[in-house]
């Protein structure tokens, strides 16, 4: 698939949140604040952009040649944990402001399905580490999009009187559901017709 195809698929057709249903826990937690949602999305994009190519390399250069495919889960989990560690260390040393800003989000993401799930889903179908990096970034961008839009909707809802039973998580879930409904517009057929 072309780069455009990879990007559009990752952001719209197979949106991490609205299609694959990953990363819901941190997403809903961050939906309370637009700033937090933005930070979460950016953190996700950054980490995914780094982790996806590493995972690709791990899978295609180590696990498969050595016939260790059954270690995929374990290997990926350790890889993700390792990269998170590295990112935090690097941020703390090189850009303390960024580290402080990301600090709250990284732990949430680390123990969450977004990064692991995206890697597991993207890596098998891609043909190079470079493409994986693009796909990872795009998936993160899709997450960022969903996160920011959801948070902005929730911000507006907070100024309205939502029925008591629905306040908090239920209405967030409902908003996400309606967003997912809209995203059904982006399907493989559209992509194929557009990019060919």
């Amino acid at each position: 698939m072309s780069f455009a195809g990879i990007i559009l698929t990752a952001v719209f057709v197979n949106n991490v949140v609205l299609h694959q249903l990953l990363g819901l826990c941190p997403l809903f937690a961050a939906a309370g604040s637009r700033r937090a949602a933005l930070g979460l999305g950016l953190a996700a994009a950054l980490v995914l952009g780094l982790t996806a190519p590493a995972a690709w390399a791990l899978q295609h250069l180590v696990l498969e040649p050595l016939r260790l495919g059954y270690l995929q889960t374990l290997a990926f989990v350790l890889l993700v944990a390792g990269i998170f560690r590295l990112v935090r260390l690097a941020a703390a040393r090189l850009a303390p402001a960024v580290h402080r800003a990301l600090g709250l989000h990284l732990p949430a993401l680390a123990v969450n399905c977004v990064v692991l799930g995206s890697c597991l889903l993207l890596v098998p179908g891609l043909s190079s580490a470079w493409r994986s990096a693009v796909a990872g970034l795009a998936a993160g961008a899709g997450f960022l999009l969903a996160s920011v839009v959801l948070a902005s909707i929730q911000a507006r809802l907070r100024t309205e009187r939502v029925p008591e039973a629905m306040r908090g998580l239920p209405i967030t879930l409902l908003s996400a559901a309606l967003m997912a409904l809209g995203f059904l517009a982006f399907d493989r057929a559209l992509l194929a017709n557009l990019i060919g």
Binding site: L21, L24, T73, L169, P170, L173, L174
Partner: protein, 213 residues
């Protein structure tokens, strides 16, 4: 107090509906009843094994390394379950796909392992783990039943002998509400379930307050 360990996981402390742990796989695999049962079984197996193993290993592992140790432990156990499923239930494994492997970072499992590793009573912590696992599976099953019956008009179980595995619901299987079997439907359903659970909890709390005061 002791009774609550198991039953609590099913109702008041239901991990999925009350604490909303382990959402991602829950929503993704609840479009078919068989997938829900499969994942639920996986969760229970991994939970019990992980909790027991963690309790045994805790004295041996330095405190600083414990989080990563539990992560490796759970990932290893998930891999075992994964391989077993590939061998004995390949079709189901294919359907569950990535979401089975994602149990390795499931907040329910990891959270319980961390908490119960310190527990003093093996039987109690096993009962708690079993209760949470069962509660999770029950909630997942509930969501899957609604989603599949209304969303596809079927109930997909496991083929057994001459039974093909798929029950068709009369009427609904002609014009099912397809959106329910999509991601949007899952989020929708969970939203209303969470509202319902919240309402019930609030009522329970009010009743308790009234009887206490």
């Amino acid at each position: 107090m002791k009774e609550r360990a198991f039953i609590g996981g099913l109702a008041r402390q239901n991990p999925l509906l009350v604490y909303l742990l382990g959402l991602c796989p829950a929503l993704a695999v609840s479009d078919l009843v068989s997938k829900a049962l499969g994942l639920g079984a996986g969760v229970i197996l991994v939970l019990l094994a992980a909790v027991a193993a963690a309790r045994l290993l805790r004295p041996v592992i330095p405190e600083r390394l414990q989080p990563i140790a539990w992560l490796v432990l759970v990932a290893a156990l998930v891999s075992l379950v994964d391989l077993a499923m590939q061998a004995y239930l390949p079709a189901l494994r294919q359907q569950l796909g990535v979401y089975l492997q994602l149990l390795a970072v499931n907040c329910l499992i990891l959270g319980l392992v961390e908490r119960l590793a310190r527990s003093r009573s093996l039987s109690r912590c096993l009962r708690l783990a079993a209760g949470q696992g069962a509660g999770f599976t029950l909630a997942l099953l509930l969501i899957a039943l609604v989603r599949e019956v209304l969303g596809s008009g079927t109930i997909t179980l496991f083929p057994l002998g001459s039974f093909g595995g798929v029950i068709r619901v009369p009427g609904l299987s002609l014009y099912p509400v397809r959106v329910l079997s999509l991601a949007a439907g899952a989020l929708l359903l969970l939203g209303y379930l969470a509202a319902l659970a919240g309402r019930l909890m609030a009522r329970g709390r009010k009743a308790e307050q009234r009887s206490a005061g």
